[in-house]
């Protein structure tokens, strides 16, 4: 807005006028003064001319009256002479008085008045004489005048002489010289008069010429001066008009080209002007707003009214700039944010007060500002409330920003970290690495730290170091690379990790100790096992050695190889032999069990026919059965081929069959066997061999069935005395069958009999193995 330029122009109007008028006035006064002076001079000169005329006429008249008087001798002629001669005498008195250095102006005036001059001419005559008396033309006139006065004095002397002669009644002849004398004086005066008149005429013409020249010069000067002043004034006006035009044009161009809307409020006349842009800015058609201040005021947002009024008041009263942001309602009813600026302008008169201003639509900027402020608020709240410490470091290693959490983290007073060097939070020993890392990063962008999170040591304000986790990123701020670091105190985590680590170490140590203990125990157990095995082997050997003698020599004796024995001897030796056999069986069973439980029992893989095994076992025990009058039935079909440990299968069957015979007093013992197809056809095996050993013996009580296959259990200890057994047989059977993938079970009815059943997998017979056979 062109605001400040017009007021000085208005203020400069008065001096300009003065500069225009004053020279003209001075010149006019000067010209007028000159004119008046010249006119006064001219009139004074004319008065002298008139005076000279009267002087000449009076002198001539005096001479004539004197001549008349000489002839007539009449007093009235004398009186006429006296009256006529008074005029030159008055002039003479004035002249002589004026020639004095200190003239008595009253005498001068009286002299001139006596010279029959007009009273009004007297001051001018005095001025002319005094001012121009030394001028040549006046000098000549005065000299002439003075010469005339000498002749007049001679005339007066002659007159006096004549008058005395007349008085004395002298004769005419006596008067003749005097009369001649008068005529001569008159004759001398005549050229003097002519000269006087001529000099006065010259003076008058000079005065006239002077007047004309002066007036002409004054008029010319006045005209020239006026022309000059007028020209200057006109040029200035022209410049002003041009400037105004230019200013107006610029203003118009500015208004058209500017995004600003302009307004002006003539406070004194209560009128307003709104530029078209002002209106279009609000979505109004140009010319819509009436030229009244209220037109814009009505569009102002109610919440902004007070602020606008206060700003205006401050501007008008204290001269503070009027520049505020407010809302105006647009044509569409939406509020537009505008920046409103105004400047008051004082016109030339006190009541010419204008307020000129502009508005610019900042709705978008305002919205952007609001969005920015919201974003700023959001990020500031994050910045200030996050537990993570945030540091922003420039390339100069100065802390540019640090949030409250950062101050807390490093133990510094709030707001003190900003501008500090990084070394206040960085231990000296990490300095070189940091500098090298930053330099490397700036050189080729490679990071030696993982930006996602690295653990480093930090320096606390109290001097101690603590571990922290840092994640950082690089960004640009004002064209300068910045590093933003997110930091977290991980002291507790470190301690927890250390504790965990320690606990793990302790646990590991304990595990190792336990492992060592277990290993030792295992070694001891292995040693024990070895010792046990050695013991068993030794025991076996040591027990067998005497048994060799016992069984061997009783055998020799019973066979009569050492001489005949009677029946009783034979029977008793049988007891010894049976006891030895039983002892041997016990030893063998114990050895087998020991080997099974230590996992050293091996299972042979050989092909055999169960029917053969059954026949063999039956043959082995048939004498015993027959001895007890028992029927021993073996109903086993031939061709039940098994792939396995033949000796163990035999051992199991022999054991079961032996038990059956042992616990059966009368009746029968039967062995049956068949192949049971697998329940699930999908099974690849060839089914299972099912073997039953049934007897008609004493049977087993139900409560004993569950422990029947456990070690060292013999059913009903009371019966044990009658039925010798190791108590290991059934347990050994179960173990052997389990080794071979089989199982065993029993069903029994006390007093009726028992049936033991076992099953074994039938191995599929391969053609190759078939042919080997």
């Amino acid at each position: 807005m062109p605001t400040a330029s017009t007021a000085p122009q208005q203020r400069s109007l008065v001096p300009r006028r003065r500069s225009l008028v004053l020279p003209l006035a001075v010149l006019a006064v000067l010209v007028a003064t000159l004119g008046v002076l010249c006119i006064s001079l001219l009139s004074a000169a004319r008065a002298y001319v008139g005076g000279e005329s009267r002087w000449s006429r009076s002198q001539k008249a005096a001479a004539q009256h004197l001549l008349h008087y000489a002839e007539s001798r009449q007093p009235q002629d004398w009186a006429l002479y006296r009256a006529a001669i008074a005029v030159p005498l008055g002039d003479r008195q004035a002249r002589e008085e004026l020639d004095k250095p200190q003239p008595d102006l009253a005498r001068v005036r009286a002299g001139f008045l006596a010279g029959a001059n007009h009273p009004d001419d007297v001051p001018g005559m005095i001025r002319l004489y005094r001012w121009f008396g030394q001028m040549p033309f006046m000098q000549r006139a005065i000299a002439t005048w003075a010469a005339g006065d000498v002749e007049i004095a001679a005339l007066i002397d002659t007159a006096e002489a004549m008058h005395r002669a007349v008085e004395a009644r002298a004769d005419a002849a006596a008067l003749l010289p005097l009369r001649e004398q008068v005529r001569q004086i008159d004759a001398r005066l005549t050229p003097l008069e002519a000269e006087f008149s001529a000099t006065l005429g010259t003076a008058a013409r000079f005065a006239h010429d002077l007047l004309v020249i002066t007036v002409l010069l004054g008029a010319a000067s006045l005209a020239g001066m006026t022309a000059l002043v007028m020209q200057r004034a006109m040029r200035r006006d022209l410049n002003q008009a041009q400037a105004l035009h230019d200013s107006e044009a610029r203003f118009q161009r500015a208004m058209v080209g500017s995004s600003d809307g302009f307004w002006e409020w003539d406070i004194g006349r209560h009128r307003a002007y709104y530029s078209p842009r002002f209106e279009t800015l609000l979505g109004l058609a140009p010319g819509t707003l009436p030229p009244q201040p209220d037109a814009a005021r009505a569009l102002l947002h109610p919440d902004d009214t007070a602020a606008a009024r206060a700003a205006l008041s401050a501007h008008l009263r204290q001269g503070q700039p009027y520049d505020i942001t407010l809302r105006l309602r647009g044509a569409d009813g939406q509020w537009r944010w505008v920046r409103s600026r105004a400047q008051v302008q004082q016109g030339p008169t006190a009541d010419d007060l204008r307020l000129a201003g502009s508005i610019v639509d900042i709705t978008e900027r305002r919205q952007a500002e609001l969005a920015l402020r919201e974003s700023e608020t959001l990020f500031r709240s994050l910045w200030e409330t996050t537990n993570d410490a945030v540091l922003i470091i420039g390339l100069d290693d100065l802390v540019r920003f640090a949030n409250p959490a950062a101050h807390e983290l490093f133990g510094h007073a709030p707001g003190t970290l900003q501008g500090q060097p990084l070394t206040v939070v960085q231990p000296q020993r990490m300095r070189a690495g940091h500098v090298a890392g930053v330099a490397r990063y700036m050189r080729d962008g490679s990071r030696h730290l993982d930006w996602r999170g690295t653990e480093i040591m930090a320096l606390h304000a109290q001097g101690h170091e603590f571990p922290m986790e840092i994640r950082f990123a690089q960004f640009e701020l004002g064209g300068e690379p910045q590093f933003v670091g997110f930091l977290r105190d991980i002291t507790q985590r470190k301690q927890a990790e250390q504790a965990l680590h320690d606990a793990r170490d302790q646990l590991e140590a304990r595990v190792q100790a336990r492992t060592r203990e277990l290993s030792d125990a295992n070694r001891r157990l292995l040693e024990l096992d070895r010792l046990k095995s050695q013991f068993l082997a030794t025991m076996s050997h040591e027990l067998r050695t005497p048994l060799n003698s016992i069984l061997g020599f009783t055998g020799i004796l019973r066979r009569g190889m050492s001489g005949p024995l009677n029946a009783e001897q034979q029977r008793q030796l049988g007891f010894v032999h049976d006891s030895g056999k039983h002892l041997l069986a016990l030893i063998n069973d114990l050895l087998d069990l020991s080997r099974i439980e230590s996992g050293r029992m091996e299972v042979a893989r050989e092909r055999f026919d169960f029917a053969e095994v059954a026949a063999e076992a039956a043959a082995q025990l048939r004498p015993t059965a027959t001895g007890k009058a028992l029927v021993l039935d073996v109903d086993v079909p031939a061709g039940l081929l098994l792939l396995g440990d033949r000796r163990k299968v035999y051992q199991v069957l022999l054991n079961l069959l032996g038990n059956a015979i042992k616990f059966t007093a009368q009746g029968r013992v039967a062995v049956t066997a068949q192949v049971a197809q697998a329940a699930q056809a999908a099974q690849a095996d060839a089914g299972r061999l099912q073997v039953q050993v049934a007897d008609t013996g004493i049977g087993i009580a139900p409560e004993h069935l569950s422990v029947l296959f456990e070690a060292f259990h013999q059913v009903d200890g009371s019966l044990g005395r009658n039925h010798e057994g190791t108590g290991l047989g059934l347990y050994l059977c179960r173990k052997l069958l389990e080794l071979m993938g089989g199982d065993i079970g029993v069903s029994s009815q006390p007093g009726v009999g028992s049936t033991f059943r076992f099953s074994l997998p039938l191995e599929p017979v391969l053609p190759a193995e078939e042919t080997q056979r």
């Binding site: 076996s540 050695t545 069984l551 061997g552 066979r559």
Partner: protein
């Protein structure tokens, strides 16, 4: 000349029992009570069969068998272990040392002689 069996056993009763049975069966039996003695006896009079006990003082049967088998003059004399070591690994070890069979003690009086005869090499 009858078949000559060298019976090696440190136990006098065992030697007595076996000698009785073998001699009853018509075999000539010489005895030794430990390994070195057995080697000396075999070298002195080459037997047709050696019945070697395993557990013996001075030198056990395994070692004696190896030495016997290592002797060029006696390498082809069959040796059978005759031992109360009834455990399978003991039997296996005996076979490894060069024994052709293992007869378990206590011996079965009724079958012992047949077992021994079965081990004798066929008469030249």
């Amino acid at each position: 000349m009858s078949t000559h069996v060298l019976l090696v056993d440190d136990n006098e009763l065992n030697r007595h029992l076996a000698c009785f049975l073998l001699e009853e069966a018509g075999l000539r039996v010489t005895t030794a009570s430990n390994g070195p003695a057995a080697l000396a006896a075999a070298r002195a009079s080459r037997p047709d069969l050696v019945l070697m006990d395993i557990r013996m003082p001075v030198m056990d049967g395994y070692e004696a068998t190896r030495l016997l088998k290592a002797d060029p003059a006696l390498g082809d004399v069959p040796v059978a272990a005759l031992s109360a070591h009834a455990l399978p690994h003991e039997k296996a070890l005996a076979l490894q040392c060069g024994c052709i069979a293992h007869i378990e003690k206590p011996i079965d009086v009724e079958t012992f002689v047949d077992q021994v005869r079965a081990l004798l090499p066929p008469a030249p």
